[in-house]
Each structure stands twice: as structure tokens, then as C-alpha cells.
């Protein structure tokens, strides 16, 4: 029985179209309509400003814990923007911008982080799962949705988002394995932002890339510059096309960086130095896309100012509407809504009990 080498011929592609200074590789530049490019830019800008406002609201105590997405605008929007409305998306919890692109209202986002269950509502015409906090668990749902699409023979695909930390979870591996075995039309989009709270990528995996993990499950992986929206969009569009035409799943690793906190409860100065953050600041996804659009003559300086002002007003409107909603919501019995299709007699009694206890609490508090 001789020992013999088993040769693997797999190779990975790394894709970058727009460098950090906004110079474009014209051989790879996707042909996208100008209004679409502007829409992407405006959404990225919106994502950044909304993030800043949310952070602000959290510091003022007007919302609770919130996971900022600054720095990852291109890596989530580039992927989500390549989907059709009839496709499905299963986000993790840092894809707020992708969700808003897909049609989630700002009000629901704010309500959710202000502690109102109502904020989890998914709009009627939006085929997305609500955000999922248990890391990597949502990747399997996307696979199940994709398996169901295949069974129903629809031309749709499912896309799921997760971080670099998620690739250590069992569910990630089970999801990739199921997707490979059943050739499900699913796109796995890893937001490799280098950090899982305080744990750096080097402590999550010895793999040189996350993209290469796809090879073990029998389908392609690609690594892209996650701060280059053209690269993320192109890789996603290609993966979606593969999935739609029955060629199965793809894993896309977006190299990006979590510029801010894990959540507002986190203090990154404890575990990472500012030098690294500075390096990534120079790779900012919005600035380079703006340079590209200015150079291309698609965007004018005045227009960016106009966008800034419009966005500021939109966000202010969203905050005001959500705070108005908070005053209207909050009936405590609503916590019993949407538990089951029908409440059992036992739960109906508990709801009555809760209301009575709540009434007595309020009376006691009022009387001191």
C-alpha cells in the first residue's frame, strides 16, 4: 500500500476593483447605471450618519444597547444591493443598513433598540428574516429557505450574513455542509471585520482565509476587499447568478473592519490599539466610493452636501416618528401578542394576572 500524494487543484480569487484612494481597475469595473451608483452612495452615507445618530441616542439613554456598523457599509450594502426583492435575506445583527436598503423602516430599527418588540416587525413586502443575535444560527435558516426555493422551483436565492467569529460556530459548518450537499441556492456573506468583541481573527482560525473554508464543503469561495463596494457588489452578483442558475452556493469573505464598538456596552481600548484603527480609517469605504463617483463625473461636490442635509432631516424625522410611536405603544399586555397562533386558556389567565399585578404596581408606586 504505497503512500501517494492527493493533489488539490483548488484556488481562490481575491477581488478588488476600487483601491483605497478611489482609483478604479477599469478592466473589472462593473457597468452600473448612474442612478444606481448614486443610490448606493446615498445609502452608504445614510448608514454612517444613522449609526452616528444611534450612538448618540444610546449615550443619551433614549435607546438601549446598539451594535454600530461604521466601516462596514460597503461590505453589507454591496451584497444586499445585488439581491432582487423576491430573494430572501437572513442577517446577523450588524446589518442594519442592508435591512434598511431592503425596506426596513428606520422607525422599526429605532423601536427595536429602544426595547419595543414591535420593532422586530418585518414589512409586508420584505422577504427577510428579522435580525438574529445567536451567532451563526441564522445561516441554517437561509439554507432551509434556499432548499425550499429549490423544492418550489422558484428562481430566487437566499443570502445570509455573519461575522468572522461565526465561522467558529458549529452551525456555520453545518450550514455550509447542507448547502453543499443539497446544492442550495444560498450565498454566505462573511463580514470579516477582524474582531469578535475582543477576540481577533487569529484566535478564531488558523486558516489563511475564511473563503477557503468553502472548498472543504465542495463549492467556491471568494475573498473581496469589503471596503470596496464595487468588488462586493460584483462578487455578490456573480454568486447570485450562479445560485439562480442552479449551480449552488458560494461563500464570499468581505475583508473589512469594525471601526467602532462591538456594541455600545463594549470598550475596544482594552484590547486593540489605535494604530490599527488608523490604518483602516485610511481605507474608508465611503470616501473611496465618493472619490470614484466624483472622478467619474457621476457625483458633484454640491450633491454630497445636499445628500448630507437631506439625510440629516430624514433621520430627524425617523427619530421623531419613532419616539411618537413609543408613546403610543407600551401597553404591557402586548407582550403576550404573537407568542402562539392562539393563546391557551392558561396563557390567557396569565395575561389577566399580569394586567392586574401591573395595575396594582402602578397604584402602589403612585401612592409611594
Amino acid at each position: 500500500m504505497p503512500k501517494k500524494p492527493l493533489l488539490f487543484t483548488h484556488q481562490l480569487e481575491y477581488l478588488s476593483i476600487l483601491d483605497e484612494n478611489g482609483n478604479v481597475d477599469q478592466t473589472l469595473e462593473p457597468e452600473l447605471p448612474e442612478d444606481f451608483l448614486l443610490k448606493l452612495y446615498r445609502y452608504m452615507l445614510f448608514g454612517r450618519r444613522f449609526d452616528e445618530r444611534m450612538l448618540n441616542l444610546q449615550r443619551q439613554g433614549r435607546i438601549g444597547t446598539f451594535p454600530p456598523l461604521t466601516g462596514q457599509e460597503a461590505s453589507q450594502l454591496g451584497a444586499a444591493a445585488a439581491l432582487k426583492p423576491s430573494d430572501w435575506m437572513a442577517p446577523a445583527f450588524r446589518e442594519g443598513l442592508a435591512e434598511i436598503w431592503r425596506g426596513k423602516s428606520m422607525e422599526n430599527t429605532i423601536l427595536y433598540y429602544a426595547g419595543y418588540d414591535e420593532g422586530g416587525a418585518v414589512e409586508e413586502d420584505r422577504n427577510d428574516l428579522p435580525l438574529a443575535i445567536p451567532v451563526s444560527s441564522q445561516t441554517l435558516h437561509a439554507v432551509g429557505i434556499a432548499m425550499a426555493m429549490k423544492y418550489r422551483q422558484t428562481p430566487d436565492v437566499a443570502m445570509t450574513f455573519f461575522g468572522d467569529g461565526a465561522t467558529s460556530e458549529g452551525d456555520f459548518h453545518e450550514a455550509l455542509n447542507f448547502a453543499g450537499v443539497f446544492q442550495a441556492p444560498v450565498i454566505f456573506v462573511c463580514q470579516n471585520n477582524q474582531w469578535a468583541i475582543s477576540t481577533p481573527l487569529s484566535k478564531q482560525t488558523r486558516s489563511e482565509t475564511i473563503a477557503q473554508k468553502a472548498i472543504g464543503y465542495g463549492f467556491p469561495g471568494v475573498q473581496v476587499d469589503g471596503n470596496d463596494i464595487l468588488a462586493v457588489y460584483s462578487a455578490s452578483a456573480q454568486a447570485i447568478e450562479r445560485a439562480r442558475s442552479g449551480e449552488g452556493p458560494t461563500l464570499i469573505e468581505c475583508l473589512t473592519y469594525r471601526m467602532g464598538l462591538h456594541t455600545t456596552a463594549d470598550d475596544p481600548t482594552k484590547y486593540r490599539n489605535n494604530e490599527d484603527v488608523k490604518v483602516w480609517e485610511s481605507r474608508d469605504p465611503i470616501r473611496r466610493f465618493q472619490t470614484y463617483l466624483l472622478n467619474k463625473g457621476v457625483l458633484a461636490e454640491e450633491k454630497t452636501q445636499q445628500y448630507e442635509e437631506e439625510i440629516k432631516a430624514e433621520i430627524q424625522g425617523g427619530v421623531e416618528r419613532s419616539e411618537k410611536l413609543m408613546n403610543e405603544l407600551g401597553a404591557p399586555e402586548d407582550m403576550f401578542a404573537h407568542q402562539y397562533a392562539e393563546l391557551s386558556p392558561h396563557l390567557l389567565r396569565q395575561r389577566e394576572e399580569m394586567l392586574e399585578q401591573w395595575r396594582l404596581d402602578q397604584k402602589e408606586e403612585k401612592n409611594g
Binding site: 416587525a121 435558516h141 404573537h338 407568542q339
Partner: protein, 326 residues
């Protein structure tokens, strides 16, 4: 009417629901070509094809996570986990998502899936193959927990579970899979989830049990009547969650005595909840402390000693006599 084992009755339920509704899918380890290790899904792949009877990779979380996705998309997946002792791999998918997606999405999505798994002891099995841990699921809001006790009710409950709009954990007492046959009508038959049934009338003591404990409880009731003239009223819970205690409480108000039987561990077990409900609803009617006949609070032993662990009819007879004597 055909006389069927529980395995055959469950197979009938799955087959008929799949014939009626193309949303119903089966998935699990060895459920297709092999027909399931207990043969519950025997032959279904030949009728419905590998698209609907899916042999999956060996990954419980994968099975349940994928089923959740399918259910949200509008299918009605029925997954089989080969033994309930392996459902811990998928527990977080049930607790974190199946149980919560209706609420999290504020009613946009729901998860009409069934998780089937054989549970319980007394079959001389390997480690992890005999446990009775239904309380984990009964304790989890958003899930329903169903356990049949015979061929006919297993078929009727399975049909209801598949049609239920919420996730149902369906534990099958493997000790009863082929223990006896019952007449099971070919025509459709359902049983409501969340409603216990009285399976024996009696005025002296109320006995509450479910699953594989039902035949033992009925045997014990026979002995108590024949040897001691004691009339036992026996309730089969059928659904642990949601638990409706109305009939049981009513019965205890009549008998003044109660015994709860389960093979699950005692502490924080289903008996604890039933006793608490009796304290709340029938305290002043009780003439003696409620007794429990249960598994002990230890790791389930390998099978050389399982006979001493498992409740049996003799233990039930003694418990009933003790509660009546006190």
C-alpha cells in the same frame, strides 16, 4: 379498521398528510432509504421521492435550522431526530428561533414544524438512548410538547401536530413503538393539542400520566380494583405544553387524592408542575399529600439496572395505596 402498531400508525399519519399537502416534507438522518432506524418513515421515499423525504447529513442543528427556514418559507417540515438524547445538539435552534420567530417578527413569520424523536427507557439501549427530558421543551415558551401513548392517539396527534401553525415537539415513547396494536381507522382522525383525556373512570384517586406510563398506569388501576377495591381515575396528558389542568383539577376535587407518574426525573419534572397546579386549584379538596412515581434524579443507568430505575405498575400500586392510607 386495521390493527396497527404505533410505528405503523405514525407512518399512516405522515403518508396521509403528505398525500394531502405538498408542503409537508420529512427530513432527518436515515429517514429516506432506510425508512428511519425505527422504520416510522418506511416506504415514504418510494411514494414521495428524495425531494420530500430527505436523508440529511448527520447534524441535528443543521436539520432543525434548515427545517426552520423551510417552515418560514411556507413548507411544513417534519424532522426526525433519531433519539431524543441527541436533541441537545439542536436545542438552541428550537429555543432561539423556532420558539421565537413568530414573536420576533411580530407575526410576519411562524414556524409550523414538527420535531419527532423517540424518547424514554426500558428498551435495553445504549447510553443517551433512554432519557425522558420533555420538560426542557415544555419549559420553553413558543413550543408545544406532545407525547402520545398508543397507536391510535399517536396517529391523531401527529396529524394535528403537522397542521398546527406553531412548532410542535413530538416525543414518541419508543417502548410502545411495537408493544401493542390498536384499531386505527383509515379515515382522517385528529385530536386537539393541549387537551388531556380521561382514560379510566374512578372515584377514589386521580392518577395523571402520559406516554409509556399510560399502559403501566392502566395495569396498576386494574390491580388496585381487583385486589384492593380501589377505583382509580386515570388521565393521559397527551400534551405537556400547553398544559390544561381543568379536567385533572376537577377530578381531584372529586377524589381528594392524586398520584403523578412519569419516567422523567423527579425534581422540576412534569409532576412538580401538576402538583403546583393542584395546590393552586384544589388545595382544600386534597385529603392527603400528592405522590409522585418517577425516575430518580440521577443519570439514567445503563440497562443492567434500568428495571430498578423505571416506574412500574407495582410502584404505582404502592403509591396509590400509600396516598389513600395517609
Amino acid at each position: 379498521m386495521a390493527k396497527l402498531t404505533m410505528v405503523q400508525a405514525l407512518n399512516l399519519a405522515l403518508r396521509q398528510e403528505m398525500e394531502k399537502d405538498d408542503r409537508v416534507m420529512l427530513l432527518g438522518e436515515d429517514v429516506g432509504v432506510d425508512g428511519g432506524v425505527f422504520r416510522v418513515t418506511d416506504g415514504l421515499i418510494d411514494i414521495f421521492g428524495a425531494e420530500r423525504v430527505i436523508d440529511t447529513p448527520l447534524a441535528e442543528s443543521g436539520i432543525v435550522g434548515a427545517a426552520i427556514g423551510m417552515a418560514v418559507y411556507g413548507l411544513r417540515p417534519v424532522c426526525e431526530i433519531q433519539f431524543s438524547g441527541f436533541t441537545y445538539f439542536n436545542f438552541h435552534q428550537l429555543e432561539s428561533h423556532a420558539a421565537r420567530l413568530r414573536h420576533r417578527s411580530q407575526g410576519k413569520y411562524h414556524v409550523p414544524m414538527v420535531l419527532r424523536a423517540p424518547y424514554g427507557g426500558g428498551v435495553r439501549a445504549l447510553e443517551h438512548h433512554s432519557e425522558s427530558r420533555e420538560v426542557y421543551y415544555a419549559h420553553t415558551p413558543g413550543l408545544k410538547m406532545v407525547i402520545p401513548s398508543g397507536p391510535r392517539n399517536s396517529r391523531a396527534l401527529m396529524v394535528s401536530a403537522i397542521r398546527d401553525p406553531d412548532p410542535v415537539i413530538f416525543f414518541e415513547p419508543k417502548a410502545l413503538y411495537r408493544a401493542f396494536r390498536e384499531e386505527v381507522p383509515e379515515e382522517e382522525e385528529t385530536l386537539p393539542l393541549g387537551v388531556p383525556v380521561k382514560v379510566r373512570e374512578g372515584g377514589d384517586v386521580t392518577l395523571v400520566a402520559y406516554g409509556a406510563m399510560i399502559p403501566l398506569s392502566l395495569d396498576a388501576a386494574e390491580v388496585l380494583k381487583a385486589k384492593h377495591g380501589i377505583e382509580v381515575e386515570v388521565f393521559d396528558l397527551l400534551t405537556l405544553s400547553p398544559l390544561d389542568d381543568t379536567l385533572i383539577t376537577e377530578s381531584v376535587r372529586k377524589t381528594g387524592h392524586a398520584v403523578v407518574v412519569h419516567e422523567a426525573h423527579r425534581s422540576f419534572g412534569p409532576g412538580a408542575e401538576i402538583m403546583a397546579r393542584l395546590m393552586e386549584e384544589a388545595f382544600f379538596y386534597l385529603e392527603a399529600p400528592v405522590k409522585r412515581v418517577t425516575g430518580y434524579d440521577i443519570v439514567y443507568p445503563l440497562f443492567a439496572r434500568e428495571k430498578a430505575y423505571m416506574p412500574n405498575a407495582m410502584r404505582i400500586v404502592r403509591a396509590v395505596r400509600e396516598t389513600l392510607a395517609s
